[in-house]
């Protein structure tokens, strides 16, 4: 604990290059924390206090503390960022953090996920989940137009079968349930 220095991420910052956009998005993070802190506090103040209560600590105390600390941390972090502190983006086996973000892939992935959310009610689990799987492997660069849809359908059906039929966890089967 003692050997750690207090929060200046100087060693992480890239010395050159696109400083301003990076700094702008880091300040965006601070703004997010600030807004979240404010939201938590406002929500806590909204809790009515006309019910029976015991003790000095009511249901609003801890949220106020957490919200207040969020605001404080957002300010400290903003000061740190303006002094040049920078968060270190996480690297990994499959990840090259030095490349610019590929927003197209992310958007496609999100679309596949949201399609699942929208479809799972009306069209049922097997269809929606197959869309999710095919959509995400397509987004991530797989272009085998024969294997992918069949694999998605198989995986989705197998999962549905295990949960709904074998284990008795009900999952919506689709629009043709009870028709065929």
């Amino acid at each position: 604990m003692s050997e750690m220095t207090h929060g200046h991420g100087h060693e992480h910052g890239h010395e050159h290059g696109d400083r301003t956009p990076v700094r702008r998005s880091e300040l965006g993070l601070c703004a997010f924390l600030l807004v979240l802190g404010g939201l938590v506090c406002v929500d806590a103040l909204r809790i009515p206090d006309d019910f029976t209560r015991r003790g000095p600590v009511g249901p609003e105390a801890v949220p106020m503390l957490v919200g207040g600390l969020l605001v404080l941390v957002s300010v400290l972090l903003a000061v740190d960022v303006l002094r040049g502190g920078r968060g270190q983006a996480e690297a990994g086996e499959d990840i090259d953090p030095d490349t610019p973000a590929d927003w197209r892939t992310v958007a496609m992935l999100l679309a596949a996920f949201l399609a699942n959310v929208a479809l799972i009610g009306p069209l049922g689990f097997p269809i929606a989940m197959a869309v999710l799987f095919w959509g995400s492997v397509y987004a991530l660069g797989s272009r085998d137009m024969v294997r992918d849809p069949l694999l998605a359908a198989g995986l989705s059906l197998l999962t549905w079968f295990v949960f709904d039929r074998l284990l008795g966890v009900p999952l919506p089967g689709g629009p043709l349930m009870g028709v065929l």
């Binding site: 604990m1 003692s2 750690m4 929060g7 991420g9 992480h12 998005s25 993070l29 924390l33 938590v40 929500d43 019910f51 015991r54 003790g55 000095p56 600590v57 009511g58 249901p59 801890v62 957490v66 919200g67 600390l69 969020l70 941390v73 400290l76 972090l77 740190d80 920078r86 968060g87 983006a89 996480e90 990994g92 990840i95 090259d96 490349t99 973000a101 927003w103 892939t105 992310v106 496609m108 992935l109 996920f113 949201l114 699942n116 959310v117 929208a118 009610g121 999710l132 799987f133 995400s136 987004a139 991530l140 660069g141 797989s142 999962t159 949960f163 284990l167 966890v169 999952l171 919506p172």
Partner: protein
């Protein structure tokens, strides 16, 4: 040795071919279902309850024991391989286990988990045999002030996981605490941060948070920065633990039960907090501290052994006091009642054969689990050789099934995605994920116990320190906090 002769009789019951077969079926079914997303051990036992209808009570409970231990283990397999914890006790395992699997040490991670489970289970169950009555009488003396003190200790002990930048670690912790606030306040029933929806009123499950931050966040982050070209399939590597691995893991395996068993046995303990404490302890004691976060085998061995021993501890309170301390224990209690058996102080006298048969089968199940899963470790690890799009597509699929299957509500998928986006942003800005998880686990419990203690004392602050255990724990906290300071002073004085 009364317990010893009873235990021998118990083995006589458990080792008959039929009962052995039921134990094996239970372990296999439990592991298989524990691997499925969204189905933790409690659901597994509940879902498999009908399978045991028609069996006599001893056979049924031997099978339950197998399902329970198998389910606990199945959760960690997905944690290691897919970064999607199957249940809350396996959340910590993902932190080191998944990086290990990614760097081709999947079989070692799985083996460390399997043996950790075995050691934790054996030591924990032995403690159950030897200490059950003593532990039970101590367990009921622990009250809200003690729990709060222990949670303060846990907070202090794991600040070391905050990461390189204290400020960003703190921000992450606060994000976790905020997620933990969502839901109805348990003491007064007032809603907090639910935005008027009933779906959020039970709060956000810690497994959902972990899966969102780990798996969905990771998939999105990979999508944004996929290393193009030249990404070779993940190597599978040697299948067994090397001598060096063993040298690094035997101590964490043995330390696990020391932390896990007591937490499992006390009514508000559970497995989440001890696994975190075990992780923090192993990190502190390890000679390879720099490897933590990148795949340190101690960080798998310790928490897994802890989780397993905590499961044994849970059995103590359930069998001797009839008190369910976890959801699984609650389901098993319900199952006992189905057979017209009332667990409680009189169970050991009334149902001697059944109880000792059950305890013996816990040993048997632990051994079976190891025999079945150790050879499977390299097989499972081959799963990672599938091409990247399928791997991450599969992880998203798996995570969505888990979030949706239990409640059957698309709102859970939206919550999962939002937490996933948070995980994405945290990776982008270098906020460590671990403190957020810690906040979700510890925050609500700490608040609840503190306020309960204050309410019992009718608002007097002495309610927080009116038990010897609480005072002792605060003393340990004080020493922990003062230690670095004292060390610096000593060093300065020497100079």
């Amino acid at each position: 040795m009364d317990a010893f002769t009873h235990l021998l009789d118990g083995f006589g019951t458990a080792l008959t071919p039929a009962h052995l077969a039921f134990a094996a079926i239970g372990v296999i079914l439990g592991t298989a279902i524990g691997v499925l997303p969204g189905i933790g051990p409690a659901m597994a036992v509940a879902l498999l309850l009908p399978v045991t209808y028609g069996l006599d009570s001893t056979a049924a409970f031997i099978m339950f024991a197998g399902i329970y231990y198998g389910g606990m283990f199945g959760g960690s397999t997905t944690s290691i391989l897919l970064n999607t914890p199957g249940e809350s006790a396996a959340v910590v395992t993902a932190i080191e286990g998944n990086p290990m699997a990614r760097s081709g040490r999947g079989p070692q991670a799985l083996a460390a988990a399997a043996i950790g489970h075995f050691v934790g289970g054996m030591v924990g169950t032995t403690a159950l045999v030897l200490l059950a009555p003593a532990v039970a009488s101590v367990a009921v003396d622990i009250g809200a002030p003690d729990y709060f003190a222990i949670m303060v200790l846990a907070f202090v002990a794991v600040t070391s996981v905050l990461g390189a930048s204290r400020l960003r670690g703190l921000a992450s912790l606060l994000l976790g605490l905020t997620l933990g606030l969502v839901g109805l306040d348990q003491m007064t029933g007032q809603s907090r941060l639910t935005f008027g929806t009933l779906h959020l009123s039970d709060g956000i499950d810690v497994v959902l948070v972990a899966v969102g931050l780990f798996a969905v966040g990771e998939a999105l982050w990979v999508a944004a920065h996929l290393r193009h070209g030249g990404s070779s399939p993940i190597p599978v590597g040697r299948p067994w633990l090397s001598r060096d691995d063993l040298r690094r893991t035997w101590k964490p395996w043995l330390r696990g039960p020391l932390i896990g068993f007591p937490f499992g046995a006390v009514p508000a303990g559970g497995a989440e907090i001890p696994t975190f404490l075990s992780y923090a302890t192993e990190k502190r004691l390890s000679k390879h501290r720099d490897e933590f976060g990148k795949g340190a085998i101690e960080g798998v061995a310790g928490p897994e052994s802890t989780a397993s021993a905590s499961a044994a501890g849970t059995m103590v309170t359930m069998l001797t006091l009839g008190l369910p301390t976890t959801a699984v224990a609650a389901v098993m209690l319900a199952a006992f009642q189905q057979y017209g058996i009332q667990p409680g102080p009189l169970l050991f006298q009334r149902e001697t054969d059944l109880v000792w048969g059950l305890i013996a089968s816990l040993f048997v199940g632990t051994v079976l689990l190891l025999l079945i899963n150790l050879p499977l470790a390299p097989v499972w690890a081959k799963l990672l050789r599938i091409p990247r799009p399928y791997l991450y597509g599969g992880i998203l699929f798996f995570a969505s099934v888990g979030a949706y299957a239990v409640g059957g509500d698309p709102v859970d998928l939206v919550v999962l995605l939002l937490i996933g986006l948070l995980g994405f942003a945290m990776r982008r800005f270098g906020l460590p994920v671990l403190p957020a998880i810690l906040g979700v686990i510890l925050g609500p419990g700490a608040e609840l116990q503190m306020r309960r203690a204050l309410q019992i004392s009718d608002g007097s602050l002495t309610g927080l320190v009116n038990s010897p255990l609480a005072v002792a724990v605060y003393a340990v906290v004080a020493v922990l906090l003062a230690w670095p300071l004292a060390r610096r002073l000593v060093r300065a004085a020497r100079r």
